[in-house]
Structure formats: structure tokens, C-alpha cells
């Protein structure tokens, strides 16, 4: 069983390596269920529809040129950048826990309570792979 302790995720968005700014990163890959239940069926029948993918992340606000804040603020709504995530570091030639999609950043949120670190979270939605 190849399990890992999640300590070395990487996230590349276009020309930016945002790995060091994140402390949470998750990928959601799903198929939209379509209900095709008909008279005579005794259970709900679903069939797979369009697939969807999204990446959500969170971390510490990091200001300054080319750092996470400047990068993410400018890229909200941008739909030109590939987003690639690695679950356990980068290993050349290995198909292990690395995923990529065309992505658009849906939201970039900042904030926290007084006395705590200023943090951010974001969500990027997939735009397919064609």
C-alpha cells in the first residue's frame, strides 16, 4: 500500500509556483449524476454526465512582487493558465499523484480574526482539457 503523509504538495498555476504559500490543497474530480429513473424501476437509476474538476487551497497571505497575493489577485477570472498539482513532491517520469487542468480562479478570499495570521483561500474551476 502506497500511502503518504501529506507534507510535500506542489501547486503550479501558469508561471507561478505557489507551493510555499499553501498549507491546504485539495482536488475534486466528479461526474454530474443524471437521473434516468423510469416507471417500473424500484431504485433511483443514475448515469454519469459531464465531468467536473476543481482545486481548492488555502495558506498565508504573502505580499510583494510575484508573491502569492499579487499573483492570485491579478488572476481571478483568468482562464488561460494550466493548473498542475502534485500530491507528494515532483518525480520526473512518474504518474503518481500529479494532475493538471485548464483552470479559472473562481475566488480568492482573505481574512482572519484579530491576533491570527492573515490567511487566504481560493477555488479554481476546471475548463476541460481540450
Amino acid at each position: 500500500m502506497a500511502t503518504i503523509v501529506y507534507t510535500n504538495a506542489k501547486v503550479l498555476y501558469g508561471g507561478h509556483n505557489l507551493s510555499g504559500d499553501h498549507n491546504e490543497l485539495s482536488l475534486d474530480y466528479a461526474s454530474e449524476m443524471q437521473d434516468v429513473t423510469a416507471f417500473g424501476d424500484s431504485t433511483r437509476i443514475n448515469t454519469g454526465g459531464l465531468t467536473t474538476a476543481s482545486v481548492s487551497g488555502a495558506g498565508y497571505w504573502n505580499g510583494g512582487t510575484n508573491n502569492a497575493d499579487a499573483t492570485l489577485f491579478e488572476l481571478v477570472g483568468d482562464d488561460l493558465e494550466p493548473l498542475t498539482v502534485f500530491g507528494n513532491g515532483i518525480t520526473e517520469g512518474a504518474e503518481t499523484g500529479a494532475y493538471s487542468m485548464k483552470a479559472v480562479i473562481e475566488n480568492y478570499n482573505l481574512g482572519n480574526t484579530v491576533g491570527d495570521m492573515l490567511t487566504f483561500d481560493l477555488t479554481a474551476q476546471g475548463r476541460g482539457v481540450k
Partner: protein
Amino acid sequence: MAIVRAIALKDATGTALTSCGTGTAFDIGGVSAGQSLYAGLHVLSSSTGGLLVRVQGSSSSGFGAGKFTSHVAFTERSCRNGQWATPLTTGTVTSTFQSFWRAEWGMTTSGESYLMLPWMSIE
């Protein structure tokens, strides 16, 4: 399909490349009927000049002269950038069966330096 499993062909995210070269050849497999070859590039730093990156396939790991094909050629870049190549199908990967793949990179002038990561996927 909304996302692909990526295989890094060259990890230059931590140490910059400063000269032309090729990456290790990996036996990833051929593009079978119904599959597509996907490729992307992250250029993570800027330099004066231009970075050219290609994804090449060959039937042998040696990538001998005249025995490989450049299937994907990313647009030359000198600044931070991401690119998603147009996917290739069996109809466009027209050479004979090629299971070995590698990245090749070139720079237009001397003294350039780039952090970058090209990847590919066959799905």
C-alpha cells in the same frame, strides 16, 4: 474529461536551467486508439532571450539521431507563463509506435536562466 494525470518530464522548479539540453527518456507508452497526448508547460521565472521547449517521442530510449519526433513545440517564452498544448490524437501522432518520451529545451541566447516544468499525459 475535466482533468488529466500529469507526468513531469523535467523538474526544474528548484534549480534553474542555464543551457540547452534534453531530459531523461521515460517509457510512458504509446498513444493508442481513442487516446490523446496532452502536454503543458510552466515557465516559472523570466530571463532575457527566449525559452523553447518541445515534447519528443521515440521508439527507443536512446533517442538516436533521426529516430525521434518532436510532437509538441511550445511557443517561445522569455517570461513567466503557462501553456496548454493542443491535444494530439492517434491521427496526429503520425509516426510509428513511440513509447519513450522526453523534454528538450533550447535558449535563444547565452546567459539565460529559467525555472520551468513541462509535463505530458496520455489519456
